[in-house]
Amino acid sequence: MRRISISPPVAAILLAIVLFLLSGFLPNGFGNDINVAIAQATNIVRLAVFLGVIAAGQTLVIISGFEGIDLSAGSVVTLTAILTYVTVKGEDDKVLLALLISLAVGALIGFINGLGITFLKISPFVMTLGMSGVVTGLIIIINHGNVSGKVAPIMTRLIARPLSPDIPIPNAIIIWIIFGFMMWLLLERSTFGKHLFAIGVNRVTAKLSGVNVTVTNLAVYSLAGALAGFGGFLVVGNTGVVFIALGQPFLFPSIAAVAVGGTLLSGGKGSYWGTMAGAIVLTLITSLLTTMQMPDSVRRMVLGATLLVMISIYGRQRGFRQ
């Protein structure tokens, strides 16, 4: 007998659609109004962009295997958001500089993570959790209670606003589609992508097949840091304000999004499309809970339970008996 199997990204999209339709029945849901429904759906996808970009780096490190994970992503987002805010100071011509700083700082932090994980054999979870503390310390030093700065009008225009008054598609979604395509090129059509999946499946065989495991591993963590940095740049462009706890709420959902998208948490298998679908599901769940006026405690429990259910479905290791 054949078991019916749906690919995880498709399952995630179906889950998102079902959840969204159910949300229409809430007292303050969209009800019968199709226009309101479309507007709400667009808004949820728009919000999912930020989680989706931050989860991109997470996808890479998780595919790289060896219990790969990046717990410093949340604090990197906060740090680069603050750096962008301070650098731009409301001037359009400094936006590019701020973007480069965000990417470079993120990459540097990721590189340090990679050094610790590759050379000092510290478990990725512990190393990146430790770095998260260090980065939070840096944020406190830079921030010193308050920062002065401002996002540039061009950032708001490119990130937070729709494409044009006639086409109500937010620019953020278009950025995300282009970004998703680039991630696909990176994972499926590049040598780096091949090496990434190879080390995720089995490091020894990858090494024997001529993959430079050390360099690939360092590159993965640096890239993940840079992507988190890019996420910070986007987030501040959307919100226009910074605060110390800006990035941390993205961390746990970013991991859950990867898991929901069907990327194996043991590494070696996964896709960015899945993570994009996962980001939409997670954003939808969070916004549903907010609409239902659930307190923070319930939100956390639901997020924790979601991840637990997802890994129970996809993440089971081989039993001893087999």
Partner: protein, 322 residues
């Protein structure tokens, strides 16, 4: 006479590095705080260290068995919020001891949930306990959304000021922990634990009940985390759902600098206990050296990362010599 060999010392006594670090930290602390060995100061230091000592001992058992427990901080939070809300500032001693039993039960239950998912469903320990940590902290926030509540001062004072024979209570607790650990090591379970941590597949082949051994380690960790929660509640006298969150990484760090490898099967419980004391003393040094408040988080986090990196750095240096 045999020449002193650094390598041999490190190999034969995993706790050697921890003790060395402890002595260095003690000397620095002694210079900054000359009265640290006076009866009152010693007691006030040890009662602050005790929760982490209990937590690290539990974490060590899980790590020895080849796992890791990210949810210990969440369990500490649950216990703290149960005691702070149910006993209250005017509660009777009977009520206190009843709820101490209840919260220890809660800790064992939380550990059993972890153990069920990891041992029976064969999920990855890191990601599973990360998910349950969200569940547990969420539950603690559910019990007590804002910091508050507490336990009666006279009960808290039992913990703070009990010094049998002039020695801090913590010394007796450490002695009990080490005695119990020595007993466990001599039992069949002790052998199983090292076998499972070293190589679970091989242990399974030789008829070790791997599933039950792994399950038991998480229950033990939940139990120890609950004791740590009771201790920290009696120390602080008040409730805060986030109290346990930063303790998780510290407990892992204590285990690592205590010479118990994160890969499992190597080390013991004594090293992590020493590690926990060392980290407490380092914390003391930081507060006595009067560094700028803005820098404190950064310095603390950097020391944690360096401590985590230390065994790896030593390994690297050792390999170069060969």
């Amino acid at each position: 006479m045999k020449r002193f060999s650094w390598d041999e010392m490190m190999n034969r006594y995993p706790a050697f590095f921890a003790i060395l670090l402890l002595v260095v930290a003690l000397i620095i602390n002694f210079i900054l705080q000359p009265n640290m060995f006076a009866r009152d100061t010693l007691n006030s230091n040890m009662r602050v260290f005790l929760p982490m000592i209990l937590l690290a001992a539990g974490q060590a058992v899980v790590i020895l068995g080849g796992g890791i427990d990210i949810s210990v901080g969440g369990i500490v939070s649950i216990v703290n919020t149960i005691l702070a809300t149910q006993v209250g500032l005017n509660g009777s001693p009977e009520k206190m001891w009843t709820y101490v039993l209840v919260s220890i039960g809660a800790g064992i239950l939380a550990g059993a949930i972890n153990g069920f998912f990891i041992a029976f469903l064969r999920l990855q320990p890191i990601i599973t306990t990360y998910a349950t940590s969200f569940l547990y902290v969420g539950f603690a926030l559910f019990i007590l959304p804002n910091p508050g509540g507490g336990i009666p001062a006279e009960i808290a004072n039992i913990y703070r000021n009990t010094t049998p024979l002039g020695l801090p209570l913590a010394f007796y607790v450490i002695a009990v922990i080490l005695l119990i650990w020595m007993y466990i090591r001599s039992t069949r379970f002790g052998n199983y634990l090292y076998a499972v941590g070293g190589n679970a597949e091989a242990a399974y082949e030789t008829a070790v009940p791997v599933t039950w051994v792994i399950f038991t380690t998480y229950v033990a960790s939940g139990f120890m985390a609950a004791l740590a929660g009771v201790a920290i509640t009696m120390l602080s006298g008040s409730g805060n759902a986030e109290i346990g969150v930063p303790m998780t990484l510290t407990s892992i760090t204590a285990v690592v600098i205590g010479g118990t490898a994160l890969s499992g099967g190597v080390g013991g419980v004594a090293g992590p206990v020493v590690g926990a004391i060392t980290l407490g003393i380092i914390q003391n040094i930081i507060s006595f050296s009067r560094i700028d408040t803005w820098w404190e988080t950064f310095v603390k986090a950097t020391i944690i990362v360096v401590a985590l990196a230390a065994p790896g750095i030593i390994n690297l240096l050792r390999r170069k010599k060969v």
